[in-house]
Symmetry: C2
């Protein structure tokens, strides 16, 4: 922004809000003195007359909230745009569906964090990114009291996309209209109310047994952790509470869990899968694997059996869809703009920068890291390493780059771990024998299979929050690292990368299976199933909750449930 | 029900639900033996082959819940029909609007009580009463998962109408569409969300000062306890929380309280009214008395000033309508059926029996007691009292009826209290001097002004719950009192009334005024205003909550608010 335009803008603002002039700062510019007005969303700083870089963050979920919590750089003017003014602790969402935990206990209002950090917040949905003009177009939420929506543009210098994903129905007919999703706080509340509605409806007089059975047939689509946990919670609710409060209709209830794959929880260790499937069978949950949903009507759900191709339709009372990850429409548009239309999700590099678009970062479920293959860069790596230009690498030359290779290409380490090799030197030794010099062919041969270890990170809260934290730490050290880069060597360019690339550390995952039992998969192939892991689950989730407020609330909700049982009021 | 039809019904039911035959009782009828099936809503008792009287209770609010809690007569088959399967502690509803208390903390699921008492519950709305055939027609609630509604009939022997009232818009145009009400739990939740929506909307960029002012103009219609408390709660929220979380728009907020009468809280002592009006003025709440709302559009609310007739329109962000009591449409229809079409609400006698309709009781806000005037019965009273048929009453004769008069006509006692007379004898003395005999003329003269003390009971939770308890106690002693009536003498008939008529005892009322101050009006003209009454309020409401569950939840909500402040998440 030129001085002229800045001056104009300040003046216009001053005219527009004369009464709000809380902050008038007299500052000196190049010999003259002007009034600088700073209020509502203006991105100017009076300090040394420089324009602060405006960072616009889209989203207040795991990645966005974690980014904002760790961001701590006074040189940025941070504006957050999100359609919900709170952070939602999603892992406890299935617990909300049956009233084990209250929805309000697992949300953290974002305004508190904004106030602490001095960031701006706007409750609106981004509907378009104009990457050319560095501008986003937003629309406010619809609300009962305020008719219509308000639309506005917002400029950015840096854009951080952390909008997460939406459920993907794979265009299955009827799903959008008839099924419940389990992604937002409102979804969980709707499910909770609907479960109670089903029991009340089934308790009406003058119904046939078939009608009661239909109404109390709960179908869960998707055998991932969310679907499994929801089924388990629902089963607990039936056994622990419904038996008492709706004794006359309890016998008509049925839970069906549909999974298109061969097994539920297929991202977990096989022991966990087997245990879960067996437990569900024991509990009477009707588990149907290899079943693909092909359509949902108001009364029936149709599934196709993989293999036989047989289509079966069954009456149901309620369907919960918890499978698939879909992109929001404006992200699709944006991908088209930047030439990523063929990708499934937004592709970023290892530094979470969106490929093909300057100044835009993406993290969490909305993006995936397009990891660089070692084999693509192998010639560049060799040339860079071969400082003496001999055509071969000696030990010293090799040692000069080995650390950078490992940092730049995380798959190398994974490969070494898999092959149970201590370090990359051992790998070369296995290819080159005891020869101290290595030529390009041998080098390629040694690293040939390294890229097989490349894996997309799962779309989990754990990945998203680590990415948020990582990016915030980069932003915090931006000025320092611009001057003194601390990343690995640039093999295809000059100098070093500013930062270390993002690296994910898996701390384990949980799959609550109901009946106070949880399956836990911890790093180092450690698997634990049962009541002890349930307590581990309680303590890990209690400690992971973002504030003392949510922690207190969730723990007191758990206590309430132990004492008073779940609440069956249909509000 | 004849034996034949009963037998048929039992058989049909048995065929319809063979698998649910949990309770099969072999019983003997007039020489033969039949299977009697008892399940789902059937009103048969195997004990001595007699048909239990089926009591259908409509509603689960103050009067209904209190009736059900105290009802304890095994000779009734009790079926409850209500569109909500919970009891709502309405006095704390204004606290829900700003998150001081959670909605779930002030509801008590009704299924718990039903289970304890062995009553049946059906979540449905009564849409028609057919008094001739002793039948009600019901419709189930609409729900997202279950398309359509289910309709059914239900027979009754005794009907207890406890459906409360709905807000009355007095046909003011636009109110139904644009205003919020404050009657149900959902209403309070909607208001809570909408208040936050307004603040988020007002915080959007690119708005003019006028737009922000419009969005943050909260209008409350009705200066009764609910409207006043809501205004006070909203003001507290603005001062205590909004100042912190929306500092940039706080200055644009305004609360207007509109009251058609001369004063707010006009049912309270004048000292309370004066204090409240002064406090609101100090707080900056814009109090407009003598203002009648004549119309609401999407953007403006129009009021007419009583006296001048001037109509003023003002832009607003949100309107809360908390005035007027209206009847539900099916009650209106019912009144037409029984010849009460000209009445404002259902009229009952002092025993809560609906006038002109056998076997139907009504209590709470939906009904009013049509108190019998002494002067209407004065001749009958005199004749009854004059046992020796002398045309005058001597002391003995008079003493023989004085207790019955006081019991039958509660206004007598109120009149004596007002006149500061110890008993009715003193009243007669003032009319008759020292004469020991009294004739009809003197008798009439003495009691002439007694009926001026007749007042309709206010439509409050206190009245409703006392009525519920009263009626339950009558029902509990029904058999006993049929044989040995315990009510006052029937002046216009033979014998005694079965029960004492309902008598209301006022235990005081509260009007929370915000800022931890409450006005309390207690029996005996005791008025207390300030922080001490706030603590009285806390303790009375905590003790009045219907269960330990709600008590614990509300107290922990209060504690949460003290520690963490109110939650500003828009869910």
């Amino acid at each position: 922004m030129s001085f002229q335009s800045f001056y104009q803008r300040a003046l216009t603002l001053f005219k527009a809000y004369p009464s709000t002039s809380k902050l008038l700062v007299l500052s000196t510019f190049s010999g003259g003195s002007v009034l600088v007005y700073s209020d509502l969303n203006t991105a100017v700083t009076p300090k040394d007359g420089q324009h602060k870089k405006k960072v616009v963050v889209l989203g207040s979920g795991w990645s966005g909230y974690s980014f904002l919590s760790y961001l701590n750089n006074p040189n940025y003017d941070v504006q957050v745009v999100s359609p919900r003014n709170f952070f939602l602790f999603t892992p406890l969402l299935p617990s909300v569906t049956n009233g084990t935990v209250e929805a309000r206990s697992i949300v953290e209002p974002i305004r508190g964090l904004m106030r602490k950090k001095g960031f701006g917040f706007t409750e609106a949905e981004c509907v378009n990114i104009d990457a050319t003009n560095k501008k986003i177009h937003c629309r406010s939420k619809d609300s009962k009291s305020l008719k219509g929506t308000s639309e506005f543009d917002m400029d950015y210098d840096i854009l951080v996309i952390a909008v997460g994903a939406k459920p993907n129905t794979f265009n299955t007919p009827g799903v959008e209209e008839h099924a419940f999703f389990l992604k937002e706080a409102e979804d969980a509340l709707k499910i909770r109310q609907s479960v109670i509605d089903c029991f009340e409806r089934a308790s009406l007089p003058d119904l046939t047994e078939e009608e009661r059975k239909k109404i109390l047939h709960f179908v869960v689509v998707g055998g991932g952790p969310t679907g499994v946990e929801f089924s388990a919670e629902l089963h607990d609710f039936l056994v622990e509470d419904v038996a008492k409060i709706y004794p006359k209709v309890q016998e008509f209830t049925r839970i069906t869990l549909l999974e298109a794959g061969d097994h539920i929880l297929n991202m977990f260790d096989k022991r966990i899968t087997a245990f879960a499937e067996e437990k569900f069978q024991r509990d009477g949950i009707d588990l149907k694997t290899k079943s693909m949903v092909v359509g949902v009507t108001a009364d029936e759900i149709s599934t196709k059996e993989r293999g036989t191709g047989k289509v079966v339709s069954e009456p149901y009372g309620m369907v919960v869809w918890s499978t698939g990850i879909g992109l929001r429409p404006f992200i699709r548009d944006f991908m088209q703009q930047i030439g990523q239309e063929k990708r499934r999700v937004l592709a970023t590099d290892e530094w979470l920068r969106v490929e093909g678009c300057d100044g835009v970062y993406a993290l969490g479920d909305t993006a995936t890291i397009n990891q660089r293959k070692v084999m693509e860069d192998i010639d560049a790596i060799f040339t860079k390493a071969d400082k003496e230009k001999t055509g071969t690498l000696n030990k010293k030359e090799f040692n000069g780059v080995v650390k950078d290779i490992c940092q730049r290409y995380p798959q190398v380490e994974l490969y070494l771990k898999k092959k149970k090799l201590r370090n990359i030197a051992n790998l070369l030794k296995s290819a080159n024998g005891d020869d101290t010099e290595i030529n390009i062919e041998k080098f390629k041969q040694a690293l040939a299979e390294v890229d097989t270890q490349m894996k997309n990170l799962p779309a989990t809260a754990q990945v998203a929050s680590q990415q948020g934290k990582y990016l915030a730490k980069c932003f915090n050290r931006m000025e320092k690292c611009e001057k003194r880069p601390e990343g690995p060597l640039r093999f295809r360019g000059e100098g070093r990368h500013r930062f270390q690339p993002f690296r994910y550390r898996h701390f384990g995952s949980f799959a609550p299976l109901g009946g106070e039992q949880t399956a836990a998969e911890l790093p180092g192939d450690w698997v634990s199933i049962g009541h002890s892991s349930q307590w581990l689950w309680y303590s890990v989730y209690a400690s992971k909750l973002v504030s003392w407020r949510t922690r207190t609330l969730v723990i007191s909700d758990w206590a309430r449930r132990f004492i008073f049982g779940r609440d069956s009021s249909s509000i």
